[in-house]
């Protein structure tokens, strides 16, 4: 188990380096107008050249890459070109927003998808059909359409929620929760159905296993079979589905953040890329890859724990 974790970590670091180098080079192909973008239209060419030198953009790409890597090794990711905010702080202030949203969504998806999937697998009949239909509908409507609909209905027409989720840290838990409700609903609607469908098939696969029949023949109650044995065996498949959804949400959240004007990672990423704010983009990339690696590692560890074969060896 420990060797597995170490191996995964080593592989993760390698992935991290490759992704970082690739992104850095790719971004630098397009970094032509950064100084002009920072200074605006009224700056003189001399001022632009001075800014370029200040940012080190007059150096060759490899030199810059080297500088960045040596900084990154010491966990120094530099400062934003545009806001002078240290990358660490910039990400730190947006991370809670996005993670809160994504984690809340994934937890809700996990709970409801498991319940729905289980119900559909066990009951079949109309519940099953309903889950299937829901999955098709959920898969068919793009996330931004759902988001726009929700804003239009719940915030503008009925005024149940705030349309804009601009969160301030000082504004208390209640406001925070309130402002995140709508985005989370949008994310959950988009992810729930397909997760439920996949968890349903995981359950059906497990329910078809021989040992389930044997457990029944031993007089174990259906409820215990379902919640103790089948749930546990279906869990790895479910976890994999959820971890993929989690990673998908990290990327997809940008649209929701855009619609609800949430100052999160997704918007930071898009804004920074559009402007050419290299340090921030690199920070976001590193953060995303780290989160992906960590999530996968956690899923592996849980799966290992659930599966005695892996656990022992």
């Amino acid at each position: 188990m420990l060797t597995m974790i170490l191996r995964r970590l080593a592989s993760g670091v390698a992935v991290l380096i490759v992704v970082a180098v690739l992104t850095f080079v790719l971004l630098n192909l397009s970094a032509g107008n950064v100084a002009r973008n920072i200074l605006g239209d009224q700056a003189t060419p001399d001022a632009v050249a001075a800014k370029n030198a200040e940012l080190g953009l007059d150096q060759p790409v490899l030199t810059r890459l080297g500088d960045w890597l040596s900084g990154a090794v010491h966990l120094d990711f530099g400062k934003s070109f545009f806001t002078n905010e240290p990358v660490f702080t910039a990400i730190g202030s947006r991370l809670p927003v996005t993670l809160a949203m994504v984690i809340a969504s994934i937890l809700l998806i996990a709970v409801f998808a498991t319940l729905l999937g289980m119900l559909a697998a066990v009951r079949r009949g109309w519940v099953d059909s309903a889950v299937q239909v829901l999955a098709i509908v959920g898969n068919s409507i793009p996330g931004f359409v759902i988001g726009v609909l929700l804003v239009w209905l719940l915030a503008i027409t009925w005024q149940v929620f705030n349309a804009v989720s601009n969160i301030s840290p000082g504004s208390g838990v209640q406001t925070w929760v309130g402002s995140l409700t709508l985005p989370v609903i949008a994310l959950v609607i988009n992810g729930l159905a397909s997760a439920a469908q996949q968890i349903r098939s995981a359950f059906i696969r497990q329910l078809d296993q021989d040992y389930v029949r044997t457990l029944r023949s031993r007089g174990i109650s259906e409820r215990e079979i379902l919640f103790k044995h089948v749930l546990r065996s279906a869990a790895p498949a479910g976890l994999t589905v959820l971890s993929l959804q989690f990673i998908g949400l990290l990327g997809g959240v940008v649209i929701i953040e855009s619609i609800f004007a949430i100052p999160g990672m997704g918007r930071l990423a898009v804004d920074a890329t559009t402007k050419g704010d290299l340090p921030i983009v690199m920070g976001v990339v590193i953060y995303t890859v780290v989160v992906v690696i960590v999530v996968n590692l956690i899923v592996d560890i849980i799966n290992g724990w659930l599966n005695p074969k892996v656990r022992v060896s």
């Binding site: 032509g32 107008n33 002009r36 973008n37 920072i38 200074l39 605006g40 239209d41 009224q42 700056a43 003189t44 060419p45 001022a47 001075a50 800014k51 200040e54 545009f82 806001t83 002078n84 905010e85 702080t89 910039a90 202030s93 947006r94 804003v151 915030a155 503008i156 005024q159 705030n162 349309a163 804009v164 601009n166 969160i167 301030s168 840290p169 000082g170 855009s258 619609i259 609800f260 004007a261 100052p263 918007r267 930071l268 898009v270 804004d271 559009t274 402007k275 050419g276």
Partner: protein, 519 residues
């Protein structure tokens, strides 16, 4: 106002968009209807004002301050040497009075207040001014160009400063009411700390632990501020809402008290009973850069450039792109400048037949092609109209996409013979500098003419020389150096039950002093 439409509506990229459109600074001296001067009487201080802002400062260092709507946040924490009233007149602030001490107008002497301290306790004095202006010259901010004429700054005594210019700059006093005039605490200038936390003499101070980059900034009234008349609120919150849809939603639901909208969203605010503050700061249309035919020989022919001007249905363009709010025009100089000639607003009319004739006369009866940049996101609808209107007279527009962040850079590099843009209409000298000088981004081919040189020479010593200014205006209009369409209105909406707002001339949003509580 439609100048904002393409940008502000574009959601994501509107941050950058507004950098482009942020050209609404100001500097004119023409009085506008300032029926209620805000800096006057009202000593009823109170409440919290929440503004939806389009962009946050890149740094709170005053040397990095910007113009227009991006100047507004700085006004919370920093006072400027000179105050610009809503109608554009200059009034004492940290400087009690100022004047040029020589006929050549190269030495500007300012007398300073002696009763002002910075929020970190440091006293405000002549040394502080010297430190600030020298820092401004070296810190390479977006407005560093304001200080190019400054040769040296010297403290004459504790409350007197001389600014010596290398050549006359008729806009210098105006600059001192803008970014160049903002005074920060000398101890903090240039430090990393100042990037994040402003330290000035202004009416408010930032609450660091409630302010989040990318989200919101909270300012509270500073105790013992030297001029309580300018300090009308207990607290002012700035909410960063780059997306115009988010802004209108926030306004309608009462999350912000005032914000800038655009032609696609203002109906929503009207429906919700919000009040409109309407004023114009920009002109919008095409810049026909390649007057010498470097890139596209056809544009060297004045008849081609005139044909382009006759091809546009300005009235309908204003209706569709600006929500019908604003005025059509054929000139690039605004009504608040000395160069303004009223009849030039209708110099070019919508006349496709005449356009075709002019093209035929110029030898392009079979049409011609012009490449123009399409900035994305946001420029789609505009360029569709440009292409369609020009296609109707036989000019094919080849659209080349340019990411919005790089738009200005691409224009400045001279990669395009013509381009659409929205530019602010400042005082004559400022407008000349922006549109026609050989150093500006918007004159990439450095085109000029004897007529322009002569007018510029006259304007350099007297920025408001009406005769020279109007001659200049006539020349560029008749020779079709541009193809202006209209002056769109800014659509600034606010909740009149809570706040009263007065427009600031030549500024995209009102100065922070222009908001007062409604009791």
């Amino acid at each position: 106002m439609k100048s904002r439409t393409p940008f502000a509506a574009a959601g994501l990229a509107s941050v950058v968009a507004l950098t482009l459109a942020a050209c609404a600074s100001g500097g004119g001296t023409t009085p506008s209807d300032s029926s209620s001067a805000p800096a006057g009487g009202g000593s009823d201080r109170g409440g919290t004002l929440t503004l939806g802002i389009l962009q946050e400062p890149q740094s709170w260092d005053p040397a990095q301050a910007h113009v227009g709507h991006r100047l507004q946040p700085f006004q919370l924490a920093y006072d400027s040497l000179i105050l610009r009233e809503p109608d554009g007149t200059l009034a004492p602030m940290l400087a009690t009075d100022w004047s040029y001490t020589d006929d050549a107008k190269t030495v500007l002497e300012l007398n300073l207040r002696t009763d002002v301290t910075f929020s970190d306790g440091a006293p405000f004095n002549a040394d502080a001014v010297v430190a600030n202006i020298e820092h401004f010259k070296t810190d390479n901010g977006p407005q560093a160009g304001m200080a190019t004429a400054i040769d040296s700054v010297t403290a004459v005594d504790a409350d007197t400063v001389d600014i010596t210019l290398s050549e006359p700059d008729p806009a210098m006093e105006y600059y001192l009411s803008q970014a160049l005039g903002l005074m920060g605490s000398p101890d903090s200038l240039g430090t990393d700390a100042m990037d994040r936390l402003p330290v000035g003499t202004g009416p408010y101070t930032m609450v660091a632990d409630k302010s989040v980059v990318g989200s919101q900034y909270v300012f509270v009234a500073r105790d013992g501020y030297w001029n309580p008349d300018l300090q009308k609120w207990d607290e002012i919150d700035l909410k960063l809402l780059p997306d115009v849809t988010a802004r209108v939603n926030a306004l309608v639901t009462g999350e912000v008290d005032a914000t800038l909208l655009d032609g696609t969203t203002f109906q929503q605010a009207e429906g919700a009973g919000k009040t409109l503050l309407e004023y114009a700061t920009d002109w919008q249309g095409l810049l026909l850069f390649d007057r010498d035919g470097t890139l596209n020989p056809a544009l060297k022919d004045v008849r081609v450039r005139q044909a382009i001007n006759y091809a546009f249905d300005r009235k309908n363009l204003l209706a569709q792109l600006g929500g019908g709010k604003g005025e059509v025009t054929s000139q690039v100089f605004g009504p608040d400048s000395s160069a303004y000639v009223p009849e030039l607003d209708t110099y070019y009319t919508y006349d496709p037949a005449k356009a075709k004739q002019l093209l035929a006369d110029a030898g392009y009866a079979n049409g011609l092609t012009i490449e123009m940049p399409l900035f994305t996101p946001g420029g789609e609808t505009i360029l569709t109209f440009v292409a369609q209107q020009l296609a109707d007279v036989g000019i094919t527009v080849k659209q080349t996409q340019v990411p919005i962040a790089d738009y200005q850079g691409e224009l400045g590099k001279g990669n395009f013979a013509a381009a659409w843009f929205s530019l602010f209409q400042g005082p004559t000298w400022v407008a000349y500098q922006q549109l026609l000088s050989d150093t500006t981004l918007y004159n990439p081919f450095k085109s000029t003419s004897p007529e322009i040189q002569a007018a510029a020479q006259a304007l350099r010593t007297n920025g408001d020389d009406a005769e020279a200014a109007q001659a200049l205006n006539r020349y560029v209009t008749e020779n079709a150096w541009f193809a202006p369409w209209f002056r769109p209105s800014q659509l600034y909406y606010y909740d009149a039950s809570k706040v009263a707002v007065v427009a600031q001339v030549q500024m995209a949003v009102p100065s922070i002093y222009n908001y007062s509580p409604v009791s």
